[in-house]
């Protein structure tokens, strides 16, 4: 069921970014793949959120490169919406909440975690273009 919402989330944000309609399903699919990487690794292998985020972003990046070639569109068009389901919104919110309650230890722990999570996303995103672009 969450996969449906991953698709919906990515596809809807893609529409609001004025993406051409023929590329919308691919954007949704990129979101599903990212969620598959994240959710799959967390649930099946019990991996940490960081590793799962890395795998999810990696899949989004690979999907972006492939869709970009297939549809002859810029890669960004698939990566930006595809990444949306992986954004660490809950972590960021909890961090803010701890901050507002002046629970500083818990807040810094949560916010540091969110920052590293974002770093894992960045690392996952950075790899596919670096490797797959060499052939051009």
């Amino acid at each position: 069921m969450t996969y449906f919402f991953a698709f919906l989330g990515s596809a809807a944000i893609a529409v609001s970014f004025r993406m051409p309609l023929r590329a919308i399903p691919a954007a949704g699919l990129a979101g599903v793949l990212g969620w598959l990487g994240y959710h799959g690794f967390t649930v099946l292998f019990g991996a940490s959120p960081m590793l799962s985020a890395f795998v999810g972003a990696l899949l989004v990046g690979i999907a972006g490169e492939l869709f970009a070639r297939k549809l002859r569109e810029p890669t960004t068009m698939f990566i930006v919406p595809g990444l949306f389901p992986l954004v660490p919104g809950l972590m960021a919110y909890s961090g803010m909440l701890f901050l507002a309650r002046e629970e500083m230890v818990a807040a810094s722990q949560m916010l540091t975690r969110a920052a590293f999570y974002a770093g894992a996303l960045a690392a996952g995103l950075a790899l596919p273009p670096a490797i797959m672009r060499r052939r051009q």
């Binding site: 969450t2 919402f5 991953a6 919906l8 989330g9 990515s10 809807a12 944000i13 893609a14 529409v15 609001s16 970014f17 004025r18 993406m19 051409p20 309609l21 590329a23 969620w35 002859r72 569109e73 810029p74 890669t75 960004t76 068009m77 990566i79 930006v80 990444l83 949306f84 389901p85 954004v87 919104g89 809950l90 960021a92 919110y93 909890s94 961090g95 803010m96 909440l97 901050l99 507002a100 309650r101 974002a118 996303l121 960045a122 995103l125 950075a126 273009p129 670096a130």
Partner: protein
């Protein structure tokens, strides 16, 4: 070989439009270079950053143009259209005047969906993100409602020409405020509703572009984008924290 001045005009218009619509820097440089080469100018230097670009075409005399880009939106249909146009110029040799007219057309073209529905799609996306972080069905509706209000505030901020940072701050605060009210009325839990809303507001586009620019070696652009993302995130976080602080004392998680 076409008149360098004409080619420069086409290249600058294409590059400026791409930057304004949120294309990454590598794409802008690539597209402008492709256009220049298609018109037989091989000696071409382009330096693009998120806030402006320089194009210099060689030949008998050098011609250079500087374009400043103040405001950026995300309009992927335009990026896609300019991308297609640059391919056409390369393969079918459009006249520069014609190419320029096509770029103006792209600038004016209506989006793939009516403009007024765009906030709705964004709200749907926020609601879907709420479900991804463990929301319940009635929280889907709550997130949808909250996000529409948040976007209304964002639009108000833009109409009043206030700085974007203030808009992000207000958006964060209003997101929490709406979630708090919905928590009282509908019993929706705040965490999933706010988290979903935040996922759409967080600077995903700037962040993604920063990573991609860094990998492409565009360090200035990457730094600028990272700063943009950090500013947005900080403003948003400030808004959320302020609102939570004011709502304090309630069991919010």
């Amino acid at each position: 070989m076409a008149d360098p001045h004409e080619v420069l005009r086409v290249g600058a218009a294409a590059g400026e439009l791409l930057l304004r619509c949120g294309a990454d820097v590598a794409r802008v440089e690539d597209t402008v270079a492709r256009i220049a080469r298609a018109y037989g100018i091989s000696d071409v230097e382009i330096y693009a950053t998120p806030t402006g670009l320089f194009i210099s075409l060689g030949g008998d005399t050098h011609v250079t143009v500087v374009k400043r880009v103040a405001r950026r939106i995300v309009a992927l249909d335009r990026v896609s259209a300019v991308n297609g146009l640059s391919r056409q110029i390369a393969s079918r040799h459009l006249e520069p005047g014609e190419a320029l007219a096509r770029i103006r057309e792209i600038e004016e073209q209506p989006g793939p969906v009516p403009t007024w529905t765009e906030p709705l799609f964004r709200a749907v996306s926020a609601a879907a993100c709420t479900m991804l972080v463990g929301g319940l069905p009635h929280e889907f509706g709550a997130a949808l409602l909250a996000n529409i209000v948040v976007q209304g505030v964002g639009r108000l901020n833009r109409t009043c020409r206030l700085p974007d940072a203030l808009g992000d701050y207000l958006a964060g605060a209003v997101a929490v405020g709406c979630a708090f009210l919905l928590h009282r009325w509908l019993g929706a839990r705040m965490a999933p509703v706010v988290a979903g809303g935040i996922m759409v507001l967080l600077p995903g586009t700037a962040f993604t572009a920063a990573v991609r620019d860094a990998m492409a070696g565009d360090l200035v652009s990457s730094g600028a984008r990272a700063l943009e993302a950090a500013m947005q995130a900080a403003a948003l976080a400030g808004g959320v924290a302020t609102a939570l602080y004011m709502a304090g004392g309630v069991q919010l998680l």
